[in-house]
């Protein structure tokens, strides 16, 4: 009785705290990495090498004046950043950090829940987070943020289609929708799915960039954009929440990509016995390492590439990624049947 409720509750508490800290430090990571690419140092003053910068930022944002536009819809205005942030957080419930570790003699699974529609659950939470952007644009009670918000959400919905189609081919490979199941399938297959489904990996990566409004797909929130983006009227903690939501989404996408393609908590070459010494490193460290690599690449791409224009972005999503995903699905299905 206690285990059914207490352990998941503890897991949730630990996970939420870890994610929120990770998200705040992502801000620092991004500033540092982009600075290093640009021959600069980034934050250096607050704490040694700027390590306490996120705390300073958080304090500043909490102390800022809370401005709500005059005729804006107050409930929706406050709701929008929350609707942006919460789906990103709850998506972590199904992400497996490891299979099971033994803590004080109790075996504890390193995921909050292993539901048998885990993958669909994650896609569902992504589709709810679209509301955050639409509501933000609407609540600002101004023409331009509204249009910018609608455009940004159209972008999100388009790429969601491509990602979902691509996920189907993965499900065909693994035979299950459960996240833990997919990692186990990779263990049985003896190799990470990135080698078996490279096209799907590319689609997930590009789609992930677009879903999280990251460069090169960040026109809706770029400063050069005339309309100023959907979060023009936001300031203080609400504004911060939007950006934290973006980073949280990035972490979700990286974690999902790790689970689906890089074998989750599996060590490299899980089928090669000679490398068994790598098992000394616990699975969740492998997981975190791989997720971190993804996050680094996200930031690297932002520092390097120019951004797509909106129509080019949509064309890429609809005319390139979706046909590619469908083709990938057909080929995967055929091969699965024939082999």
């Amino acid at each position: 009785m206690l285990e059914t409720y207490l352990v998941p509750l503890l897991k949730i508490v630990v996970l939420l705290n870890a994610v929120l800290v990770a998200v705040t430090y992502m801000v620092l990571l991004e500033r540092k990495v982009i600075a290093w690419v640009q021959v600069r140092l980034g934050p250096m003053r607050v704490g040694p090498h700027g390590v306490l910068q996120p705390i300073a930022d958080a304090i500043k944002l909490l102390l800022k004046e809370d401005i709500t536009p005059a005729r804006a819809d107050r409930w929706v205005f406050t709701l929008a950043p929350i609707v942006s942030m919460v789906p990103a957080l709850i998506a972590f419930a199904v992400i497996p950090f490891d299979s099971a570790i033994t803590l004080f003699g109790y075996p504890i699974t390193m995921y909050v829940a292993d539901i048998n529609v885990g993958l669909l659950y994650i896609v569902a939470t992504t589709s709810i987070s679209v509301y955050g952007i639409i509501l933000a644009g609407y609540a600002s009670n101004s023409k331009f943020p509204l249009l910018a918000g609608l455009r940004a959400s159209a972008q999100l919905i388009s790429y969601e289609v491509a990602i979902t189609m691509m996920l189907v081919s993965l499900v065909v490979m693994a035979g299950t929708l459960s996240m833990v199941g997919i990692v186990r399938a990779q263990l049985e297959a003896g190799m990470w799915y990135v080698f078996v489904q490279p096209v799907a990996f590319v689609i997930l990566f590009i789609g992930g960039l677009a879903e999280t409004n990251r460069a090169p797909f960040d026109l809706p929130e770029a400063e050069q954009e005339l309309t100023g983006g959907f979060h023009t009227e936001y300031s203080g903690m609400r504004f911060a929440l939007f950006f934290l939501a973006e980073y949280a989404n990035m972490i979700v996408v990286s974690a999902v990509a790790t689970t689906l393609f890089l074998g989750g908590w599996l060590r490299p070459f899980p089928n090669v016995g000679a490398l068994a010494f790598l098992d000394l490193v616990p699975g969740w460290i492998w997981f975190l390492g791989k997720t971190f690599v993804f996050l680094y690449v996200f930031i690297w791409i932002r520092a390097t590439l120019p951004r797509y224009r909106y129509d080019q972005l949509m064309r890429l999503g609809w005319k390139v990624l979706i046909p590619l995903a469908i083709a990938n699905l057909v080929v995967t299905g055929l091969l699965k049947v024939l082999l």
């Binding site: 982009i34 050069q224 951004r307």
Partner: protein, 366 residues
């Protein structure tokens, strides 16, 4: 079936991408630009009128402030115009050093152009890389005349200062660094698919139209028109040097980008030749103490980094201030092409096109 209205939106004068205080009023049909109305004048300081109350030597200081990105080019144009009016002979050493300074300014101006243009299109790292090189040039100028932005580096008849010791070695070292870095910029942008999609076939203007509007500089050469005052009417020491003038073919933003990128390389080529052949001698010619050009008028133009920078000066022979001081700023004339260029494009392209024309508001408004 559905009725859509035209939307009029205002971009600037306070805007991160208009490169100064420029205001563009756009008429949109959905996302497409139907028309653009450029409103200037926010940086007007009355330079031309001001110069009617300054004597000939003081005006050099004021010309710095027009195209403040490439201040020495403005100095050069003005000094040469007055020298033409007074039929003054500038000693060869001064002409060579002036050429070096002008080419360094070309590189500095193009660095800024590249950085801001790339940043507007989203590649923010190039901004910092380009400014790193611009800092090197500013250091060279600081070595030479003590200032980083507004140099007052030339005098009527020559130069006030000779080059400091070991300056030529520093300039040579800089040229080597720059050639390497230009290859880096090319790697980042020239064959980047996203860059190509954002700049190819954006803002196409044909050669005839460009000449009709009065474009000059890289904006004109990007459309394939081979007009470069350094070649056609050489001034300073350009006649002594061998260099190519890059030309584009399609007249789109990408071609203008390639032209300016190649101009980096040609500038270092000129600087190296100038340093190699630097003659000895005085740095200022025989100039009377009180400069009073004879009555008359003259127009003289140089190829500034942005285009044809011309000065039309009228002297009445009696006072020690000009009667009329008129500047033909390249940015002002090039900006006239903006409404023609943005027509039919999307809003996101407007920013790319303003960057592609390369304007500086100090020159546009004076």
């Amino acid at each position: 079936m559905f009725d859509t209205n035209e939307l009029v939106i205002n971009m600037g004068p306070q805007h991160p991408s208009t490169h100064g205080v420029l205001r563009v009023v756009l008429r949109l049909d959905g996302e497409r630009v139907i028309d653009a109305n450029v409103v200037i004048g926010y940086l007007h300081r009355g330079i031309e009128k001001l110069c009617e109350y300054r004597d000939w030597g003081q005006i050099v200081l004021i010309t710095d402030r027009m195209d403040y990105i490439a201040a020495a080019s403005n100095n050069l144009g003005y000094c040469e115009t007055v020298e033409k009016l007074m039929s003054l002979e500038v000693p060869p050493r001064a002409r060579y050093i002036r050429t070096i300074l002008a080419e360094l300014q070309r590189i500095a101006s193009h660095c800024l152009w590249l950085g801001t243009h790339a940043m507007d299109i989203g590649a923010m790292t190039v901004f910092l890389y380009a400014f790193r090189e611009r800092e090197l040039i500013l250091d060279l100028f600081e070595d030479y005349c003590g200032a980083r932005l507004t140099y007052n580096a030339m005098r009527i008849g020559g130069l006030p200062l000779d080059i400091p010791p070991r300056w030529d070695a520093k300039v040579r070292a800089f040229c080597d660094i720059l050639d390497e870095k230009v290859n880096e910029y090319e790697e980042l942008l020239t064959h980047n698919r996203i860059w190509l999609e954002r700049t190819r076939r954006v803002g196409v203007i044909s050669g005839e139209e460009a000449v009709a509007i009065g474009l000059s500089g890289p904006a004109l050469r990007g459309s394939g028109v081979a007009r470069d005052i350094r070649k056609d009417e050489p001034y300073a020491a350009y006649a002594d040097f061998e260099f190519d003038v890059p030309l584009g073919s399609d007249g789109d933003t990408y071609d203008r980008y390639l032209v300016r990128l190649e101009e980096f390389r040609q500038s270092t080529r000129i600087i190296r030749q100038a340093l190699d052949g630097l003659p000895e001698g005085p740095i200022i010619g025989k100039v009377p103490r009180l400069i009073k050009p004879p009555a008359g008028e003259t127009y003289h133009a140089i190829e500034s980094p942005k285009g044809e920078l011309g000065y039309f000066i009228v002297s009445d022979g009696k006072s020690n201030v000009p009667y009329r001081f008129r500047v033909r700023p390249p940015s002002f004339c090039n900006l006239q092409a903006l409404p023609r260029l943005v027509k039919g494009h999307l809003v996101a392209d407007v920013v790319a096109l303003i960057g592609s024309i390369d304007i500086v508001l100090g020159e546009v408004d004076r």
